[in-house]
Each structure stands twice: as C-alpha cells, then as structure tokens.
C-alpha cells in the first residue's frame, strides 16, 4: 500500500521508545500554580479576579481580550496570591500571570449548559467550546472556537484529526489514541455536528501500528477513516497532513479552510469532549515528560500552570541535563528557567543532555543543497538566511520567507550547523515590522 506523504522532510531518531509504553498517569496538583494570561494565540486575556480572591477549579480568571483570544480558568481550588508579570517563553517577554495557591481539594465549577451534545445545536456547542477556553493543543494554541467557525463562504467538507505526532520523543498523542479512543470519537461527533463535514480522517504515522489498530477497532462502525502515513518529519504539519491525506494543497499564505479542511489535534478533540459532555474547562492536559536526561520518562495529565520543575521533580532530572524544552527537540522551546509553568500548548517536556543536542558552531555554507532538498515547503533556506543577513527582507519575502513553517528540517540536516530557523524567524519579525511601518 502506498502511504500518504509529501516531498522533502527528514528522518530524525524518533526516540518514542522512552515513553511510548507508559500509560498516562494523573500527576498530583502542586501547591501553587502560575497561569499565564497568554495561554493562546492572539490577544492576551484580561484578568477578572483580584488578589486574595477565593477561586474554584474551572472558575474563569481571564476573559478574551479580542476576537482571537480565549478564556482562562483556575486550574485549582484556592486563593489568588498574586497577579504579576512573569516571563513567557513563547512571547519572549513578561505577561500577566495569576498565581493561585491551592487551599483545598478540587471543587469544580462546571460549564453551564454542558451535557448531551446530541440535543445541542451548532451555536450552543461553539459557545461551550469557547467558554471552556479550548485552544489547539498541538502547540500553536490557536483558539478552537474560531477555527471551528470559519466564515460562511468557506465550505468545510473534511475534518482531519492530527494523530501524526511526528515530533521525536513525544508520545502523548499516541497514548491518548490508545487509552481514550471513546472520548476521541465523542469529540469527533461534536465537531461533525458543528462543521457538517462529509468525511473524517485520522492521520497516524505508520510507526504507531498499535494506535492504528486500536482506533480501527473502536471506530469500526463509524464514518471515520484511519489513515496510516509514512513516518517522516514534519508529517504532522497541518499543510502536509492535509496534502498527504486528501491531495489538496493549501495555497501560499492560505489556511486549511481555503481548501475546505479543518485539522484538530488529538488532545484538542478530547478536550472538546470533556468540555461539552463533562462541563470541564481546559485546566489540565496530557503531556509527555521525556528525554535522555530524565530518570523515569512517562505520560502525565498535568494542571495548566504547574511549574516545569514540579513535573521534572516527579520523574527525576539527571545531573547531565543541558537544556529543558517545552515540546520536542525539533520545534520545542528551550526554557531559561525551570520554574516556567505548563501551558495549554505544552505537549511535552523534554530534557536533553549535551551529547544529544546540536552543537551550533556555525561554519560557512558549502552549498551541499541538503536544506533545499529537505524543505517540505519547497523553499531555499540557505538563500533566505543570506538575504536576511543582508537585510534584504523584501527579496526574502518574494522567495517565501513567510511560507516557512519553522519545522527545522534545514537546520537539522545542515553540515555547516547553520541556524536557518533563527535567521528566518528574525527575518519574519523584521519583515512584518517593516511592512507595518510602510502602511
């Protein structure tokens, strides 16, 4: 059978064996949680609680600050100790953070109007998802209620569930597919009601045969097709997943909805089910804690706002740790401080020793062309780097600066250890600023 895939890409060591056979465990709740008001893409949320206020688990502590924004809820039952600015690793600057001390066991404030999704209409379902503060849990943290509600002129006919999990080391999506297939199915049905699609696919890389087999059994009577995909990074990139499964290509600068597709990560689908059926806002998530610098890798359900250190203390951090990442080694963010709290988009915490990590002593480009041949977007990373270095941002944009998905395949395969992604990210920021200034 010919497996769906795309042009380019790389085969980094997958290292899933570290955690793939560890069932998801519920981690205990820390005494203090730190909840960012930036737990989503878009405008920061506005704090709606005050210092010393008592809050319940699931109570709203932040309201959306714009159209693309999301609710934020208290992950514990306790008291607001402080509202202060804390450094945010993705934003790269301090953002409003609500510090809550746990004072009691969970006393849930469930979402109003949750229950049997079959009796709800699209509007009610979207409202529940919005009030639950659900965002894309694969890492992008785009507000789900916005993604599920495209403008009426964009007819959506295909829903794709992203179970590719192409990022090395991470196994939480795999465990979720194995352990929570029923919840996944309910989440899919809720989205089918919202989007009125003709076809639902679940894309899974073929290095997870257990998940493929299990989902096929559980979903046997349903109109949901499980599609095995060739194991290749970045197979889980939205555009490449869509192409591998449907043959449709999202146009340059476009979104999946432009080709009639909505993609949702496995974790997000389960969160949708928990919100709509069980009334639980997004206050916890599954993540993989892994890496060669971790004593006992595993998969855990962790409250949002739990400091990384609390999670790492549980699994045991080895002395040889060189860097700790939110996410996996290809796209993860290196933490400068181990106390940085888990966010809604934190799919894993990966701790790596120096012998595993890429050493970046940059040599001159020797034009080996590996960056060009691995780029899944058909770009010329070497040239983008040169143009950004020479501050020719307009020229860089013409040859696809803004098309880069920052997957890191180029930098991974570069024998000269050039940090393509760093230059491209920088170039994007400068280009956007310059374009904004011109207008």
């Amino acid at each position: 059978m010919v497996l769906g895939t795309f042009k380019g890409g790389i085969h980094p060591p997958v290292k899933k064996e570290l955690a793939k056979d560890k069932p998801i465990e519920r981690l205990e709740i820390p005494d203090t949680v730190y909840v960012y008001m930036v737990n989503h893409a878009g405008a920061p949320a506005k704090v709606v609680v005050e210092k010393d206020q008592e809050v319940k688990t699931g109570q709203v502590i932040g309201e959306p600050g714009g159209f693309i924004s999301a609710f934020v809820h208290s992950p514990v039952t306790g008291r607001v100790m402080d509202i202060k600015k804390m450094y945010h690793p993705i934003a790269g600057r301090p953002v409003d953070t609500v510090v809550i001390q746990k004072t009691a066991e969970d006393d849930w404030e469930l979402l109003e109007g949750h229950g049997d999704y079959q009796n709800m209409d699209k509007k009610q379902l979207l409202d529940l998802i919005k009030r639950a503060g659900i965002v894309g849990m694969g890492g992008a943290m785009f507000p789900t209620h916005v993604k599920l509600n495209p403008p009426p002129e964009k007819k959506i006919d295909i829903l794709i569930i992203n179970g590719a999990e192409c990022e090395p080391y991470l196994t939480i999506d795999y465990r979720t597919m194995l352990e929570r297939a029923e919840d996944l199915l309910k989440g899919i049905k809720i989205m089918e009601k919202i989007l009125d699609v003709e076809k639902v696919y679940v894309g899974v890389e073929d290095n997870k045969p257990g998940a493929i087999k299990h989902l096929r059994e559980v979903f046997s009577s349903e109109n949901v097709q499980i599609v095995p995909l060739r194991t290749k990074y970045p197979q889980g990139s939205e555009k490449h997943l869509i192409y591998a499964i449907t043959g449709r290509k999202v146009p340059r600068g476009g979104l999946p909805m432009d080709v009639g597709v909505v993609v949702q990560n496995v974790g997000t689908v389960v969160a949708i089910k928990e919100a709509v059926v069980d009334g639980k806002p997004l206050v916890e998530r599954g993540l993989t804690v892994t890496g060669e610098a971790v004593e006992n890798p595993g998969n855990f359900i962790v409250r949002i706002g739990t400091p990384a250190k609390f999670v790492l203390d549980h699994v045991g951090l080895k002395d040889n740790v060189e860097r700790v990442l939110f996410g996996g080694p290809m796209m993860g963010i290196a933490l400068r401080d181990i106390n940085i709290p888990v966010m809604k988009g934190t799919s894993g915490i990966t701790a790596l020793p120096a012998e595993i990590t890429r050493t970046a002593v940059e040599m001159p480009c020797i034009r080996c062309a590996s960056c060009v041949s691995v780029c899944p977007m058909g770009l010329q990373p070497y040239l983008l780097v040169k143009l950004v270095q020479k501050k020719r941002h307009d020229d860089a944009a013409k040859i696809g600066l803004m098309d880069c998905i920052e997957c890191g395949s180029c930098a991974y395969s570069c024998p000269s250890k050039i940090d393509h992604v760093r230059y491209i990210k920088l170039g994007k920021t400068v280009y956007k600023a310059l374009r904004g200034a011109k207008k």
Binding site: A334, R358, G378, D419
Partner: protein, 324 residues
C-alpha cells in the same frame, strides 16, 4: 541545578559536518589513487599524497594568517583540492609544479572569493587550467611513457592528432575490445586519476551511498556527452562512438568528482540538470571542434561561472504555489 542552556530549535541535528564530508570525498578518491599507482607506478602515489597534504597545509596557512574566520582551519577542503589536482596532472609532472598549481587553486581561485563555500570556480580545475597554460607538457599525459605502452599519447590526443579518425586508434591499439577494456580498467595514458572508469565508479558509489553527491549532475552530464557523441557518430562514424567518448579522457573524473563539487554547482535538481547538460555538451564540442583534445575542465569551469544565473532561475516550487 546547573544552568540551563537556551538555544534555538531544532535542538538535535545530523552528525555530519564539513570535515566528515571532505573526508568522505577523499575516501571516494582512494580507488582512483590505487589504480593510478598500479598503472603508473609509485610516483603516482607520491604525487597524490603530496597533493592532499600540501593542499591542506597551504589552506590552513592561508586561513591561519589571512582569514578572519579561524573556524575553517583544518576542514579538509584543502586536501580535497590538492588531491583532485594531483589526479589531474600527468605522471611526468615534477612535484613543484603540482605545488604551484595548488597555490594557484587556493590563493587565487578560492580564498580571494571568501574561502570555504564562497569560490565561484572549482579550485582544483582552476589550478589545472593554470598549469595547462603554464606547463602544457605535463598536463595532457603526453609525456606518459610506459615501456610496453602502445602509444605515448592518450586516446584523445591520439585522436586529435589523427584527424579524429577513431579507426586509426583502434588499429594502433590492437582492436576495439581491447581499447574499451583498457579504457574501463584504466590501462591507458592520461592524467593520474582520470584513466580508470572502474575505480572512479567504485569511489563514486561510496559517495552516493553516503549521500554526498548531487546525483543529477553526473547523470545529466554523462548522458548529454553520450547523446552528442551518438549524434556525431551517426553523422560521421570516425568521430568515435558514444561509449568511447564517455570512457575516455577526463570525462568520468570530471563528471563524477569535479562537476559535483558542492560549492561550485547549482542547488536544485533542475539547476543541476541544466549544469550537467551544459557541461556535457561543451565537453563534446571542445573535443571535436576545439584546439584542445580534451574539454572536460573548461566545460565545467564555464558552467561554474553560470551557477549563480542557473540558481536564480532553477528555483524549487514553493508548496501551494498556484500556476500562473
């Protein structure tokens, strides 16, 4: 708790580096050195080793004294240039001529452009071209005198000297089959590294397995010369058949090891194909119409100069780009 390192994603990467690639190219040339030693004797081995060592030392001297960027020290590219140039000279070449060629390659063709990765023209071929005009008697292999050799000339110089009539060469060699077998194994005159197609193919296979080759270049190069020779042969059989043309002269060394130099070749498969077609056709045209018996070096150098232009037009297709 030790201090955490903050670095950019990706946090993992290939174990390859520039030095590993250069060492691979050196390994890929070992079979050619071995055959050269068998066919031409111990001096071939001496010149090869001298070329590699002198190349690396001279490169390091230039980087160490003149370059701002000292990270380039001892990256192996100087050794590759030196060895390739050694394989491009005839057996009669004095050692100091080889060293002069290497100095030209590195001090004129490579480092003034910015050093590693920045040169437009293949340094070894530039060195060869320099020696060809400065010391022509050593460069074509005409001084190659093996006691039992049928001819002191290479097959291509013989052909050029005899009005491009291949039947005279076959006659002098003692039969078509013997000529082709000798060309394939390397039992003919020529520069040190170019004679044995077999040895070059063995080394090349290693580089292909190690993914060090822009594979489209040799494929398009050799097929283009083959195609041109086929047309020439159909028009005028005495010009030599296509098989003769791809087996003889420096074509294999050029197409497999010189045209594929990463620094001086295009970045996309389409560009690499254009590059190979250009070099392949020029090679045949120079052989038949030019005043030099062999055209590989000049063809590749000409195409080197066109690489920036080729890269400009032979761009990859961006994912999601709409046909216009």
């Amino acid at each position: 708790m030790t201090k955490l390192k903050v670095a950019n994603a990706p946090h993992i990467g290939t174990k390859d580096n520039v030095r590993v690639i250069m060492i691979d190219v050196l390994i890929g040339l070992i079979p050619a050195v071995v055959v050269a030693t068998i066919v031409f004797g111990i001096k071939a081995l001496f010149l090869s080793i001298l070329g590699a060592i002198a190349g690396e030392i001279l490169d390091a001297l230039i980087v160490g004294t003149l370059a701002k960027d000292k990270k380039q020290l001892w990256n192996g590219s100087g050794a590759v240039t030196g060895l390739l140039l050694a394989l491009n000279v005839g057996l009669g070449t004095p050692w100091w001529v080889l060293v002069i060629g290497i100095i030209f390659a590195l001090a004129v063709a490579k480092h003034p452009f910015g050093g590693l990765g920045q040169n437009i023209f293949n340094p070894a071929l530039s060195g060869r071209a320099f020696l060809l005009v400065s010391f022509p008697m050593y460069m074509t292999g005409k001084v190659y005198l093996k006691p039992d050799a049928v001819t002191s000339a290479t097959p291509l110089t013989f052909l050029a000297d005899h009005g491009h009539n291949i039947s005279k060469l076959i006659e002098a060699w003692g039969g078509r089959g013997k000529l082709y077998l000798d060309l394939f194994l390397g039992n003919v005159g020529g520069t040190l590294g170019e004679t044995s197609t077999l040895a070059l193919l063995i080394g090349f296979t290693y580089l292909v397995i190690r993914k060090r080759i822009k594979i489209m270049i040799p494929v398009s190069y050799i097929s283009t010369t083959f195609l041109f020779a086929l047309i020439g042969w159909l028009i005028k059989p005495s010009l030599g058949d296509p098989l003769f043309h791809i087996l003889s002269g420096g074509l294999m060394l050029g197409a497999l090891f010189m045209a594929t130099d990463m620094v001086t070749s295009p970045m996309t498969p389409l560009g690499q194909m254009i590059f190979g077609i250009g070099a392949g056709s020029l090679t045949y045209i120079i052989r038949i119409f030019g005043s030099y018996p062999e055209g590989v070096s000049f063809s590749i150098l000409i195409m080197n100069g066109l690489v920036p232009l080729i890269d400009l037009y032979a761009k990859p297709r961006i994912f999601g780009e709409v046909n216009e």
